[in-house]
Symmetry: C2
Amino acid sequence: MITIKEIAQRLNMSTTTVSNVIHGKAGEVSEETRRRVEEFLKEVDYVPNINARNLAQNESKIIGLALKARVDKYENLIMDPFVAELIGGIEETIRNAGYFMMLYISRDTEKIMRHVSTWNVDGLILFGMLDDDGVRVSKKYKKPIVCLDTYSMEGLKHFTNVGLDDEQGAYNMVKYIISCGHERIAFLSDNTKGVDLARLNGYKRALEEAGIEYSEKDFLKIRPASAEIEASLDEICHRALDYTAIMCVSDLYAVTLMSALTDRGIRVPEGISIAGFDDNMLGSLYRPALTTVHQDVKQKGVVAAETLLKKLRGEETEAQITLPTRLVIRDTVTKPRKSSFMGRF
Amino acid sequence: MITIKEIAQRLNMSTTTVSNVIHGKAGEVSEETRRRVEEFLKEVDYVPNINARNLAQNESKIIGLALKARVDKYENLIMDPFVAELIGGIEETIRNAGYFMMLYISRDTEKIMRHVSTWNVDGLILFGMLDDDGVRVSKKYKKPIVCLDTYSMEGLKHFTNVGLDDEQGAYNMVKYIISCGHERIAFLSDNTKGVDLARLNGYKRALEEAGIEYSEKDFLKIRPASAEIEASLDEICHRALDYTAIMCVSDLYAVTLMSALTDRGIRVPEGISIAGFDDNMLGSLYRPALTTVHQDVKQKGVVAAETLLKKLRGEETEAQITLPTRLVIRDTVTKPRKSSFMGRF
DNA sequence: GAATTTTTGTAAAGGGGTTTTTGTCAAATG
DNA sequence: CATTTGACAAAAACCCCTTTACAAAAATTC
């Protein structure tokens, strides 16, 4: 690896001059010299030592992406397959701006913070954190931070959240379900926080508006831990018989549920209508194809990255950016079954 | 951010001493001093400046993961959703060894190489590269490299390939299909290179062994570009009628095909048997559940990372590591239909 | 033509660590 | 008692690049 010092030596000039050429400081270097240096740089295929440069400029050109992953029963980290899209969107955006991406996957906020300070990353994108974790991180570090899908924004001064209009999306879908004639509609999820809560609220609002009463038992709680998933599905499929439609909090759960129902001889949509949320490959390839709420995950990544880049340039950014959803009507929501017909095989 | 110099000043000693304590150089520092320094370090929560350290030590503690992504018709990069698992496996492994992961996604090998040299990463994992790209990269850079799923290993001295026993996996599956009574079995893929070629070869070997003749037209070529996918599936579904089973090169294609067949009124497995390869969520959640060949993608990432870490420690590593596959028998391969019955609805 | 400004280039001072060299002091050795 | 050895710490060099302060040369102004 050739250094700037060597180049200066060989060209019989000072390192400053070479550096000035590299940084395009016009007016400090004669046209003649600039040409000579540039040619030589090309010739030797000069690449600056990034550590030296960062040390001198006190920046890293690195953006950290911290993913809070779930862990399975063996304490292994698990990533949602669909974060790939998100990562892709972020990476593409920041790369075009000359930044690199450093990936941390962890469930430990403390560790993430330590990484950040060690690495001197210029900015941070947080995804999948618990709501207040994001706030805590942002309070401790003064670097620009963009959160994804975070709902509790008490300390929102220091960072931006990029989210989805979850409430409205769920509302629209449930409204559509009701318009198909359904009145007994359950909601399936595994928790009532953050995104899930927002979607639940949208569901409730649609019910209320239609004059349908909501009761606690209409919330079907799935337990996704692999040890419990089967028992959990068993119970849910049983309770599902009381409803004509189920609004699922995600496509993953919708498809999981459809499989479980199919295994138990209950047909979708003849026996029961199912709606999802997210619109990913899982639902679009399934048959019957899933009726769902679309969100553009990649776009979310792009917006998050663009917002962070803005912050890094010192530009003003909003505290909250909300992306829209869109209904995707496919085949799993139809009009409700007549009375007791469950579409059993 | 407190520096080592400040610490030394405040403690009334030299930076060397502090540095020695940090690096645990025993015998160079008195027990008393060491204790004093260590306490103080904890107190001020000292974190070394990574750029300075790397500059001094000429290493980065970064491992680059270069993913060669496909591009869609709008020239956007697309990532396979299931690389998330791979990334997870790699990240977890290297993090435990004190390394960080830097992610490049690109389709341009040149750019990747430039990144690598700019960033002074300690080692590189390449995935999804064209076969010879890996070789080219490894020839140009002397850093340790581990490739995933690369088949052309002409210049294999400098790097290790972590792959799968694709040939054997496909062979086993097709043998199983034949054992179910099938004789007209097609193979579905979009190319005949690398991994796909190996799987095709396994398929051919099983056919040959059973005395079934293979002809060019038994290769069903899918065109996955979004503009052509529908026409492509149309043609394939039509040609599928000549067969009683189709061995698909991946779960994604298997599920895509099943959806297309279902849409055209052909039932799986009553009308035609379908087998996949990879064993991901897509196939396990589909109904009928996909019979497929299992590979542990996360494990692949772990092995790749561990191998690279070995190289970085200067240990010897094999040039080729081949991971096993396992048959997953579910519901999409049964005995062949009688004559012309296609299981149409 | 002397004084002033502009252009062009250099030397030197960081930036924050690591590592080598040098030096001091006390204990051990002969 | 003189000398060697060992433990410890300080000083200085180095990693490579950026940037500031300054000097020399050229161009401009009066």
